[in-house]
């Protein structure tokens, strides 16, 4: 250990209670900074994790929208999906239709989100129990896969019969008659809201319920052999059809982030405040500590510590205080973020698998870097005081005092 680090550690141990209180204070402000860093890109990171897990490299949506964010559709979605599927490197292109339906089970009737998919195994949801939808054209149609909420909240079980309709009151239906479906599977629909009911059924059946012709799609999901080609494929799709946006995962996250700027702004404001408080705390305590030992600093200068070394000593004191607060900041920050995340996720319209506070390596590194830089900046003023110290005058003054 060099003399500066040695002296800094011993100086901080000199007043252990004061040092502990400062470190505790810095841990609290550091925890807030960590939480704001996690929040600024947390939803985006969480979304990215879920999207990557699904395995679709490209999403094709009606121009200017995000998946299922509106009722807009791609008019010739099936044809576009077939064209995409024929491109080299594309493993599958799945056109998905989406709408809201009403489900009746016995005397109960409730709204449900419905996904129309070409066949089972599309990867749009993850089957948890039972079996998947049958391949297109096979016997055994008239089946649905439901989500966990419907099973848990409404007591729907495998083998139960559900009546699906496009409107709540069947007797006013003229074109879209209700149909009966049997539940064959229970699945995790990745972006469900906490109490949202969802069903998946074959696209023709969904179109029949809507009274609409087949061919349109709300979304096309593209799985690729090599996801590295996603951007090139997205460019090809966008050039082929000007009415759609083709988004790679990064593109999707970029568009989502542009619609979530209030989180970034909110975290920037609170993060800046926490950095400012840390800075002031470090400046105050290091300045106070320095003023108590000006004679010692003058002695160090006299016995051969150069001005730059003394400046380094004081700056290092700020950095070490910051560094010592890091474990507490992370521990406290993670505990607080879990609670805040639970509060925000309990708000309506928040999908179950998404988190607002996500600890990522960049967020952790950004927090550590900011806190250490704040420590060094906090030591700047006292370091300047130490550097300007008149050695002879201070030594003389200490004797006279």
């Amino acid at each position: 250990m060099g003399p500066l680090a040695f002296l800094v550690l011993r100086t901080l141990r000199r007043y252990p209670v004061r040092t502990a209180l400062v470190i505790l204070g810095l841990s609290v402000t550091g925890a807030l900074l960590l939480d704001m860093t996690m929040l600024s890109r947390g939803l985006e990171a969480s979304l990215g994790t879920v999207l990557s897990r699904l395995g679709f490299a490209v999403r094709v949506v009606p121009r200017g929208t995000l998946p299922f964010s509106s009722n807009a559709e791609i008019p010739a979605g099936d044809r576009l999906a077939a064209a995409i599927a024929a491109r080299p490197g594309v493993a599958a292109a799945v056109p998905v239709a989406a709408t809201n339906l009403y489900v009746r089970r016995g005397p109960d009737r409730f709204p449900s989100f419905a996904l129309g998919v070409p066949a089972g195994g599309s990867g749009v949801y993850a089957l948890l129990d039972g079996r998947d939808l049958p391949p297109p054209g096979s016997a055994g149609g008239g089946v649905v896969v439901i989500n966990r909420n419907m099973a848990r909240l409404d007591g729907v079980k495998l083998g139960d019969t559900l009546v699906l309709s496009a409107v709540p009151q069947p007797f006013v239906v003229r074109y879209a008659a209700p149909r009966t479906f049997r539940v064959v599977g229970i699945a995790d629909f990745y972006f469900d809201l906490p109490t949202q009911r969802s069903v998946a059924l074959a696209t023709p059946a969904l179109r029949g319920l809507q009274g609409r012709p087949e061919g349109a799609a709300s979304l096309i999901l593209v799985r690729m052999d090599d996801p590295a080609g996603a951007d090139a494929l997205a460019r090809w799709i966008a050039a082929r059809d000007p009415h759609v946006d083709a988004l790679s995962i990064q593109g999707f996250l970029g568009r989502a982030a542009s619609q979530l700027t209030y989180f970034t702004q909110f975290s920037l404001v609170l993060g800046t405040i926490s950095v400012a408080v840390s800075f002031l705390l470090i400046t105050a305590i290091v300045t106070l500590s320095l003023e108590e030992r000006l004679g010692e600093i003058a002695m160090l200068r006299a016995i051969g510590f150069a001005q730059t070394r003394i400046t380094g000593l004081v700056l290092l004191e700020g950095v070490v205080l910051s560094a010592a607060s890091l474990p507490g900041a992370f521990l406290l920050g993670l505990v607080i973020s879990q609670n805040l995340d639970a509060i925000l996720r309990s708000a309506p319209s928040v999908p179950q698998n998404l988190h607002f506070f996500t600890l990522t390596a960049p967020a952790a590194l950004r927090t550590i870097g900011l806190l250490l830089v704040t420590g060094a900046l906090g030591g700047l003023y006292p370091a300047a005081v130490a550097a300007r110290l008149g050695v002879a005058a201070t030594l003389h003054g200490e004797v006279l005092s």
Binding site: R13, I303, G304, A306, Q307, L395, H396, V399
Partner: protein, 229 residues
């Protein structure tokens, strides 16, 4: 006083040194043309009333401060042409300081205080520990090596300070009122210790009000109002 003739044994020399301090509305003339030199192994006592410029001269000789005019030559190098880094290195490796108030770091043990200048000079750990042991033995405090300054008497603290001043085997040891905070008997012991240091070849300059301590030196100079009288 005429300028000293340079010699191989000269450690530090002041030649016509003037030191002024600019205060609001006035200039304080702390030194008004002081010329003095100290050779290797010599012990010089600087005496005089408070405010006569003794400590100012000591700080200039030790390259802690620079003269307004005149020249300080330390180990053949004029100090006025050197930057802070070079002056600091010069002090670290060639000058030892003993202060009236000891200025030991209270959070370090005696051995750590003594070892600090060696750490800064980059002396390797094993060599440093051995030299610290020898120095503490020399000042009679081997048994108090692990004690903090708060656990030592005034005389013991000044002994530790002398050991620290000798840590990097300086050519020049400067002591500013080294017995000012000590009782008579302890002050005498410190004086004897400083005299031994000079006999071992280190040039020693002692600023003091204490006539008994000054009497131990080879040579005394008396100052008044910034000049040697």
């Amino acid at each position: 006083m005429t300028a000293p003739a340079p010699s191989a044994g000269m450690v530090v020399a002041a030649d016509g040194v003037v030191k002024d301090y600019r205060m609001p509305g006035a200039v304080v003339h702390a030194l008004r043309g002081v010329t003095v030199c100290v050779e290797r192994g010599a012990c010089l006592a600087v005496v005089g009333p408070s405010g006569c410029g003794k400590s100012t001269l000591l700080h200039l000789l030790g390259a802690v401060d620079l003269p307004t005019t005149g020249r300080i030559t330390l180990l053949g190098q004029p100090t006025d042409g050197l930057g802070d880094g070079a002056l600091s290195r010069l002090r670290l490796r060639h000058v030892g300081f003993v202060f009236q108030r000891f200025f030991l770091l209270p959070m370090l043990t005696a051995e750590e205080n003594v070892g600090l200048p060696m750490m800064e000079a980059g002396v390797p750990g094993a060599e440093r520990r051995e030299r610290v042991r020898i120095l503490l033995e020399r000042v009679g405090l081997a048994s108090r090596a692990r004690h903090h300054p708060g656990q030592l008497s005034g005389g013991e603290m000044q002994r530790v300070a002398i050991a620290r001043a000798l840590a990097n085997r300086p050519d020049l040891l400067l002591a500013d009122e080294p017995t000012g905070e000590l009782d008579e008997a302890t002050g005498r012991e410190i004086g004897v210790l400083l005299r031994e240091v000079s006999r071992d070849g280190t040039a020693v300059v002692i600023v003091t009000h204490n006539p008994d301590l000054a009497a131990l030196a080879d040579r005394q100079i008396r100052m008044r109002d910034g000049v040697i009288v």
